[in-house]
Each structure stands twice: as structure tokens, then as C-alpha cells.
């Protein structure tokens, strides 16, 4: 009886908290990119079940992966298969209760979604999901260049290749992974923040990584079932923070107080300017 009362009390408090957080989000500005725990692994349909894991706690933002990808895929100027975002996130130190700021380097690349909207909209099946291993790939010789897939992808990873003049994106290095190698960006990562594995192999070390950590994916509300799993975004799980007015390429840090517990958070994002964007 006591237990039930306790439970209902906590859940009511949680509800009130959610309500106030929602209200604050309403008053504040831009949405913080959502990340939420999701632990549904791709089904085994064919030979492989590839997954990509990024531990943002380990990423030092050296951009070696970006350079490696450029070299491996011969990606032209002005477009990127992968990039590293810098998020400054405020948090409350659990030991001292002080408000602190930490920098997260968040690498982004194609999520090779299990339910990819890009594949659904392609009029000629130029972008397709290979059910044998879950890779979402391009048939360059067929793509008509309508950019429907680019509009449909919620993660902004697609681009028109300035040299081939058709759609291109990260392939999870299909030419490497199908031959037993790791993607180029994983191979060069000095801190092992990027990991790649095959869930069809029960002995793959990726299982350990997934089982021992809390896993998040980006924009789960889009229903795309992304297959890049993030570790270390749980601290900011579901937090909506105002970003205030912005300057050219950097948001001024927003200070945000959670009215439920009085804790203070700040949030700031910095990204490299892409000076060669117009080359497309």
C-alpha cells in the first residue's frame, strides 16, 4: 500500500516536472537536438547486422575521421560524409551539486536507418537498403538528382556530389566492411570513440559496448530507427534548452534554470563554417 502511494507520488512529481520543463521549452528558443534511449537492434535478415557506435565521452574533436573519410571516399570540397559538432552542455555535478559546463564532441554521419525515409521517396530506387546487411546505399548511375531524399533525411547527411552531380552520402565504407575491414573513420579514431561491428557475430566486441552502456539515437521521434548508437548523450536526454540570440556561427550560451529543482544548465553549439558550400 505504502509502495503504491510512493510510486504514484513520484510519478505525479515526474508529471509536474515534465509539465514545467515543457513550459520552459515553450518559452525558450530553438530546440535542442533530441536524443533518447532506444535499444532496438536491427533484425537479422541476411548475412550481416552492421551497427555503428559513437562514444561521445571519448571523442576529442580532432577531426581525424573527417580527414580520413575525405581521403577514403575522395569526397570533393564543400561536402561532408561525416563531421564533428561541438556542443557545450551545462550539467549539475552529482557529487558537489555545482553547475558545470562540459564540451561534447558529437560526430555525425549517415545513420543507415532501418526505416529510411530517403529510400521511401526515391522515384527510381537509386537509394536502397540492402536487407542483407542493412546498408543504405546509392546507385549512382541511376540517380536522377531530384534531391527528394535529401529533403526527407532528418539528419542532413545527404548532398549532391559536385563531381558526379548525383546524390551521395556516407556508405559506412561498404567497400571495406563487406571485406572484413572497419570503416576508414573508425580505423583512424585515436581514442576509439567510433566503433563498428556486426551484431550477427555473438563474439563481436560491439556487443559488450552496447550491453554495458546506455544507448541513445538521434531524433528517435522521426521513426527512422537510426543504426548509429550514441553513448554519453544520456545526461542531456530529452532536454529542451533555449539558445537565445545567435551570432554568425556561434550561439551565445543560454542559461536555463530547471524550475522543478532549481538546477542551472547552459547550452552552446559551435560548428565549423563550410566555406566551400557554394561549390555545389
Amino acid at each position: 500500500m505504502g509502495n503504491t502511494a510512493q510510486e504514484s507520488k513520484t510519478s505525479r512529481r515526474g508529471f509536474l516536472k515534465a509539465l514545467t520543463v515543457g513550459a520552459v521549452a515553450t518559452c525558450s528558443g530553438a530546440v535542442f537536438e533530441s536524443a533518447r534511449a532506444e535499444r532496438t537492434y536491427p533484425e537479422q535478415k541476411g548475412k550481416h547486422r552492421f551497427v555503428y557506435v559513437i562514444d561521445v565521452r571519448k571523442c576529442i574533436g580532432c577531426d581525424a575521421c573527417v580527414a580520413a573519410c575525405k581521403a577514403e571516399r575522395n569526397t570533393p570540397l564543400g561536402v561532408f560524409n561525416t563531421w564533428v559538432e561541438k556542443w557545450e552542455v551545462g550539467y549539475t555535478d552529482p557529487n558537489t551539486g555545482e553547475t558545470r559546463v562540459k564540451v561534447l564532441n558529437v560526430p555525425k554521419l549517415c545513420n543507415h536507418c532501418e526505416n529510411p525515409p530517403c529510400v521511401k521517396v526515391c522515384p527510381v530506387h537509386a537509394t536502397y537498403r540492402d536487407e542483407n546487411d542493412g546498408l543504405v546505399l546509392q546507385r549512382y548511375e541511376r540517380c536522377i538528382g531530384c534531391r527528394l531524399c535529401e529533403q526527407a533525411c532528418p539528419y542532413g547527411v545527404r548532398y549532391i556530389d559536385p563531381i558526379m552531380v548525383v546524390m551521395n552520402k556516407c556508405t559506412w565504407c561498404d567497400h571495406r566492411v563487406r571485406n572484413g575491414l572497419k570503416p576508414a573513420c573508425v580505423e583512424v579514431c585515436p581514442t576509439k570513440a567510433r566503433e563498428f561491428g556486426d551484431l550477427s557475430d555473438p563474439n563481436d566486441p560491439i556487443w559488450e559496448l552496447l550491453n554495458n552502456n546506455s544507448i541513445q539515437v538521434l531524433k528517435p521521434e522521426e521513426g527512422t530507427k537510426p543504426r548509429v548508437f550514441y553513448i554519453g548523450l544520456e545526461a542531456i536526454e530529452g532536454m529542451y534548452v533555449g539558445t537565445g540570440s545567435s551570432t554568425k556561427n556561434q550561439h551565445s550560451p543560454a542559461i536555463w534554470t530547471d524550475p522543478a529543482d532549481g538546477k542551472v544548465y547552459t547550452y552552446n553549439v559551435r560548428m565549423q563554417t563550410n566555406k566551400f558550400r557554394e561549390l555545389r
Binding site: A25, T26, G29, A30, V31, E33, V79, F80, W83, E85, K108, P117, K120, V121, C122, P123, V124, H125, A126, R142, C143, I144, G145, C146, R147, L148, E150, Q151, A152, C153, P154, Y155, G156, V157, R158, Y159, I160, V165, V166, K219, E222, Y240, T243, S246, K248, N249, Q250, H251, V269, R270, M271, Q272, T273, N274, R277, E278, R280
Partner: protein, 374 residues
């Protein structure tokens, strides 16, 4: 230089610009002018038959030109021919392909029965257009006008919902992109339909009035009052839908609202033209302006400008909002080259040329009309 405001994802540019703005403008006119067809054949406004004929020529020429806009927009235009060979029925473009072909067949059938009598008459004159008209009769000599009229009525009525579907497909396309705040709502489809009616009636009336003026013929203003009132009503509906959409966006996308408003501010001019234009057409069309020829002419011109702004505000601001939801990217409008303004101008000229060609072959007025005058 591509301008941005706030942090944006590195691959983001505004992909669809003037050509994709033009495409729904054209297809909207096609759909809207079928409203006049409905008035004539469904509601029996026989005095609008001449306007309907002009609207039909306009719709046919724009229907033929419209797909060139998204086709020029492709980075590989020739590969557009792949679409029927590797069909993906889940893709909005496949829907476009089916609807466009269906509508074209129906419109051509309607043209044949609408114009057959004119072709037969025209073929008696030996000049070049007469010869073309002779071929287009497909061997018909004895024509029963009542029989033909029945068939025109049938195909005309079929073409109305088909043309509406055809234009709302773009709305469907945009509303299916639910990762983009300004697009992912079914309201977009309704806005597409309402503004299609406005631009279709406006364009048909304008071309009709200008044509009659050039030929030195009188326009009976009383005939045009009904379409003008419909024009005004739909301008009002369009405005209402826009305001409703705005409230919905503000209410539901609270988190993205700062970005949405930033993108809207960047296109302030187009929003202004749209609101003022639609309001003018709404109020003007229901006022005494619908009793004078100059009033109706002004209303038609304003309706076209306002609907162009509607198309712009539907296509551009949504794309400016970054997928990282932290900044916006400004569109880069080119004058020449792929997706350039020059291509749009070329499309307008092509549509005009086709319109002139159809009028030259089939005649501005129908044979029965000429008989009546005689």
C-alpha cells in the same frame, strides 16, 4: 557565397529554388482553370463557354510545360526517363508521373471533341495551320455538335478532380517531409488547392480579357462576375488557411518557432505580397470592382502575383530551416545555369508559344460561336 544564420549542418543548402516555385504555380493554373470547366458543364453557366475555351488552351499549354520545371531542376535531367522503368510506387514522383499522364490523356481527349468541329472548318482553309487542323480531325468529316458536347462534358468533368489531385500532389510531397517544420502538415495540401483555384481563374480571365482586347472584341463583364466572386471566395479561403497554418505552427512547433519565424522574416516581402494580395482579391472581388472590366483585370493580375508569392512561401522558407534546428540557410538564386531565373523565363516563353500555337490552329472562337455571330 551561401549565407547562413546560426550554426548549420555543413551539407545544407536550399536545394529547390525558382524552378520548384514555378512548377506548382503552373500546375495550379491548370487545376484552377478546370473550375471554369466545372462551372460550364456541371453548373450550366453556358455564357462562360468562351472563357472556358481560352482556359482550356491555357491549361493544356501549361500542362505540357509544367513537368519541364522539375525536370530542369534535376541534376541529371535526361534520366527523368528512368522514372517509369524503375518505378517506386512509394515515391511522390511516381504519383506525379501517373497523374500527369492520366490528366494529359483526358485533356487531349477533351480537346479533340471540343475542337473537332473547328478543325473541320479550319481544314477547309489551305494554309499551314489549316493543314495541321486537317490532320488533327483524324478523318472526321460529319460532326454532330450535340454528341461532341456530351463527350466534352464527360471528359471535362473527369478532368476537374484529376487536375486537383495533380496539383495537390506537390502539397502531398511537401507535407510528407515531416522532418521539416513548415512542411510536415496536411494543411499544405489544402493551401495548394485553394491557391490553385485562385490562380487558375485569375489566369484564364486575364488571358481572355487581353485576347479580346487585342482582337478588338467586347467583353461582357456580367459574364465574368461569377468567376470573379469564386476567385474572391477562394482568396479568402486561402488567406484563412494561411492564418490557420501559422497558428498551428506556432502552437505545435513551439520549440522550432524561433527558427520558423526567422525563416519567415527572411522572406518577409513574399509574405507581405501574399497577405496584401489575397486580402485585396478577397475584398475587391466581393465589392463593386467585380462590375467593371478594369476592376476584374486588376483583380486577376493581383491574384496571380499573390499566388506566386504563396508558392514561394510554401517552397522556400521550409527549406531554409536547418536539420540541426539551430540556424537557417539563405537561398542562393542564380540568374543563369541550372535552377536559374533564365530557365524560368524560358518556360514562360514556351508556354506562351504553345498557347499561341493552339489558338492559331483551333481558333480563338469556336465554330458555333462564329455561326451565332453571323
Amino acid at each position: 557565397m551561401i549565407e547562413t544564420h546560426g550554426p548549420t549542418l555543413p551539407n545544407h543548402i536550399v536545394e529547390w529554388t525558382v524552378l520548384i516555385v514555378t512548377y506548382p504555380f503552373f500546375s495550379g493554373i491548370v487545376a484552377g482553370s478546370t473550375i471554369i470547366t466545372a462551372l460550364v458543364y456541371l453548373f450550366g453557366f453556358k455564357n462562360l463557354q468562351h472563357l472556358e475555351r481560352v482556359g482550356h488552351f491555357l491549361a493544356l499549354s501549361l500542362l505540357l510545360v509544367a513537368p519541364l520545371a522539375p525536370m530542369f531542376d534535376l541534376t541529371m535531367p535526361i534520366r527523368a526517363l528512368f522514372v517509369p522503368f524503375y518505378p517506386n510506387i512509394a515515391s511522390p514522383i511516381f504519383l506525379f508521373f501517373v497523374l500527369w499522364n492520366l490528366l494529359l490523356v483526358i485533356m487531349l481527349l477533351k480537346s479533340y471533341f471540343l475542337l473537332r468541329r473547328d478543325f473541320v472548318e479550319r481544314a477547309k482553309e489551305g494554309d499551314l495551320f489549316g493543314k495541321i487542323a486537317g490532320v488533327l480531325t483524324f478523318g472526321a468529316k460529319e460532326i454532330n455538335p450535340e454528341e461532341d458536347e456530351k463527350k466534352v462534358k464527360l471528359f471535362g468533368i473527369i478532368s476537374v478532380p484529376l487536375a486537383m489531385l495533380f496539383t495537390s500532389y506537390v502539397g502531398f510531397l511537401l507535407s510528407s517531409m515531416h522532418s521539416i517544420p513548415l512542411w510536415g502538415t496536411p494543411m499544405v495540401i489544402l493551401v495548394f488547392l485553394a491557391s490553385a483555384v485562385v490562380s487558375g481563374i485569375g489566369a484564364a480571365m486575364l488571358v481572355y480579357i487581353v485576347g479580346q482586347y487585342i482582337l478588338g472584341e467586347k467583353v461582357d463583364v456580367n459574364n465574368l462576375r461569377v468567376p470573379t466572386i469564386i476567385l474572391a471566395a477562394f482568396a479568402g479561403v486561402d488567406l484563412l488557411l494561411f492564418l490557420l497554418e501559422l497558428v498551428l505552427e506556432w502552437y505545435w512547433n513551439t520549440a522550432e518557432w524561433s527558427l520558423i519565424s526567422m525563416a519567415m522574416k527572411a522572406n518577409f516581402f513574399f509574405y507581405l505580397v501574399k497577405i496584401v494580395g489575397l486580402l485585396f482579391v478577397f475584398i475587391g472581388g466581393l465589392s463593386s470592382l467585380n462590375r467593371s472590366l478594369s476592376g476584374i483585370t486588376i483583380l486577376s493580375v493581383v491574384s496571380l502575383i499573390a499566388v506566386y508569392a504563396v508558392r514561394w512561401t510554401l517552397v522556400i522558407p521550409g527549406q531554409m530551416i536547418d536539420k540541426g534546428h539551430r540556424g537557417i540557410v539563405y537561398p542562393h538564386i542564380k540568374l543563369i545555369g541550372r535552377e536559374g531565373v533564365s530557365e524560368v523565363i524560358a518556360l514562360y516563353f514556351l508556354a506562351f508559344f504553345l498557347f499561341l500555337l493552339f489558338v492559331s490552329i483551333a481558333g480563338w472562337k469556336s465554330a458555333s460561336h462564329k455561326e451565332e455571330v453571323v
